[in-house]
């Protein structure tokens, strides 16, 4: 892992702990709002995408039939990772908050702490990798000339 990879990997949990620390600022403060909003909007999702990234990439993406540009596919993959980062974060916030509300243990601090712990755990976990195809399994598409 390069230092740059390490920084990227640790950024989401750092954002979570920073947001927790920002709760010490007065309510309505722009700094507190920015730290909390940035983490909730992207932190947990980014950590989860990082965790599952290699396994997710193992499955080929379907692109336009006329596509030849490697850049186009790379940009599409980047857009996909960004989309998943945001949407999974939103999902994580809604799910964690719902569980706490449903169990009558809700507090905003607990929601943020749970999400930060989840993010930290995801950042430190080894990356998930898809299992390689079983030996002897044909990877040739049925009917293909290849």
């Amino acid at each position: 892992m390069t230092p740059q990879d390490f920084v990227v990997r640790m950024l989401p949990p750092f954002g979570g702990w920073l947001a927790l620390a920002a709760l010490a600022l007065p309510g309505g403060s722009p700094l507190r709002g920015a730290a909390v909003a940035a983490f909730l909007a992207a932190g947990p999702g980014a950590a989860l995408v990082g965790l599952c990234g290699p396994a997710l990439r193992a499955r080929p993406a379907r692109g336009p039939v006329e596509s030849h540009g490697a850049d186009f596919a790379r940009r599409s993959d980047l857009l996909e990772r960004m989309m998943l980062g945001v949407l999974l974060s939103v999902c994580a916030v809604m799910t964690v908050a719902t569980v706490l509300i449903a169990t009558h243990t809700f507090s905003a601090w607990r929601v943020l702490l749970a999400l930060t712990l989840l993010t930290t755990l995801a950042a430190f976990c080894p990356r998930l990798r898809a299992s390689p195809p079983a030996p002897g399994t044909s990877t040739t598409r049925k009917g293909s000339a290849l």
């Binding site: 990439r57 379907r62 186009f72 960004m82 509300i101």
Partner: protein, 680 residues
Amino acid sequence: MRPPTTPRERAAPDPAPESSPAPATPDEAAPDRASGPRAPASSESSSPAHEPVTDLSDLPPVWSGRHGPAAVLPGVPLLAALALWVYAVRHTDVSRLDDFGLVTALHPAFWAGLAVLTAGFWFTVRDPRRPGGWAAAYVLGLLVMERATQAVLYPTPLYAWAWKHDGVVDHLLTAGGLQTADQVGDMAVYDQWPGFFAAQAALVRLLGVESTAMYMAWWPLVSSLMLLLPLLLIYRTFTEDRRLVWTGVWLFYVGNWVGQDYFSPQAVAFALHLGVLAVVLRRYGRSGGAQGRQGQAVWTVVLSVLVVAIVISHQLTPGMLAASLLALCLVRRYRGWVPPVTTVVIFLAWCLTAALPFLSAALPDMIRSVGDIGGNVATGYGATPTGTGAVATSWAARLLSGTVLLLAVAGMWRQRVLRHRAMPLLLISAAPLPMFVASSYGSEMIFRVLLFMLPGAAFFAAAALLPEVRTLATGPGEGTRTPAPARGALRRGIGTGGPLLVLLAGTLAFVPSYSGKDRINYFPPEEVALVQRLFDEAPEGSAVVAANRNYPLAYESYGTIGHYWFLEDDRRHVDEIVRRPAATLARDMTGVEHPGRAYFLLTQGQFANSEMNGQLTGEQLNRIRESVAASPRFRLVAQNGAGAVYELRRERPEGTERAEGGEATEGVEGAEGAERGAER
């Protein structure tokens, strides 16, 4: 990058020159932009289906001004548009809205800015020399002008439903847990789909603000931004043509006037819905062999997380998602049952557990509405646009939606190859239509179906607007098709100017469609303050009587304070209230037990909603207010320029009978007089 796996894929042309690597084979050679229309590649004939390939790269020749000042030229219209927008919002007065809402209140600079922005976008997106970032910048500019204008102009959040959701979040924070129908009545439905509200409750506390009203005015912008990445990914699954992608995105935002972007669960659920579709379209297309299953388990986990969040947040979206995913199974390459089965199982699991109380109560009505297409499409009483402004803006909205749908049909008809390639998108667009048969969804089904059809419709509508789309024939050896004839110069000119005019008309029509009813949806600070004062002093067990629910904070403290909106009652009772206002309302309000109190609230938001939706006229509502004000049964609690609050006295004052008898006679005469006046 996925290598081309089929002969057709290997053979297809590449319309994005700036992003293409050096071609590996002659078949993969990027077209030479400077050499004009390209001849069909011979290997295209090797397509198994002998399918012609659409080439959307028929663009003007390249010129050498890519660097220096010319590189920032596309930014000039964008900056000019934003400058005009800033000027317009600084010189727009929203304190006196008429029946055209924001349309007549906006400074003319706004319209000029929108026109400059649209023209700038059109010429930029069609230029192959411009980096894709400029198109993105224009779309962001459009979102700012479309979805942030109201947040900047109005001092309070718009829309009674947004205020209702603010009340739900407030209630969750107060209760600290989910409640049942025994505790909160009909409002328990929100406790059975709490995902969005629970997240907002956390956000309010984490930001340290008083309520969601502090930020919910910006939600249309936030939720619209959330749609951008899923939309781009969906479109990029079917084409590499930047023009088609970004024009589709533009048309989607312009055609999305139905107002489901406000502070609501459906706004977030719709973004997640598009996210699921993007994942399924990109990662669940059949590729055959063992690789087809590689990584599928992890993707299914990701999909499940997205679906769970949709299911716990909104009732309708999971149904629409299941319908879309099932429709996708009609295409051979998406005939995998994992996504629809995952969605249906999670949806059913939630419906049969957490949401069972609501569903078991609502099931008889839901079963009755199945098959009643006329009833499901009808918009219901109190939703008939009344008055020149309301009628005109409603027609603008209908025309806008009609235009986008007609363009989509034209795009499908013109673009045979695109229609074939993007068949999954076509199916996704058609999937919501059966919902007309299933339910009326509170008279809103027609708008929801339109919303869920829009991503696909906008894509094909964009295809209709793009000029000079050529269909390359298969190779001479195959001889199944011949190239389309070259277009004439006149036709080329029309092909450029015509679509721009359509795009411009659609973009401008968005404003009346989206903001034309702001007189109903805007509650000035005086109105908010008046209602807040009422709730500040109302003890638990009180009841608030109002004409309708179109006022801010209408659901404040709904766990402890009841409501009665008399315009939603039986028509005969409404007529009785019009004939004998104070006496009838006093009778309706006497059931409130001590220590609760009964309040009568009439505000300008209720006036606007009633007048513009074909309920009572302003004159009739004024007469009701005057009757209550003059009645000894009521006392004035508070009033300001936006309305008044009265409280029903506990003790019946002496002489009330006589006063009410006199009022009854006056009421009848007054009503008859109003009818005669209306006839004249």
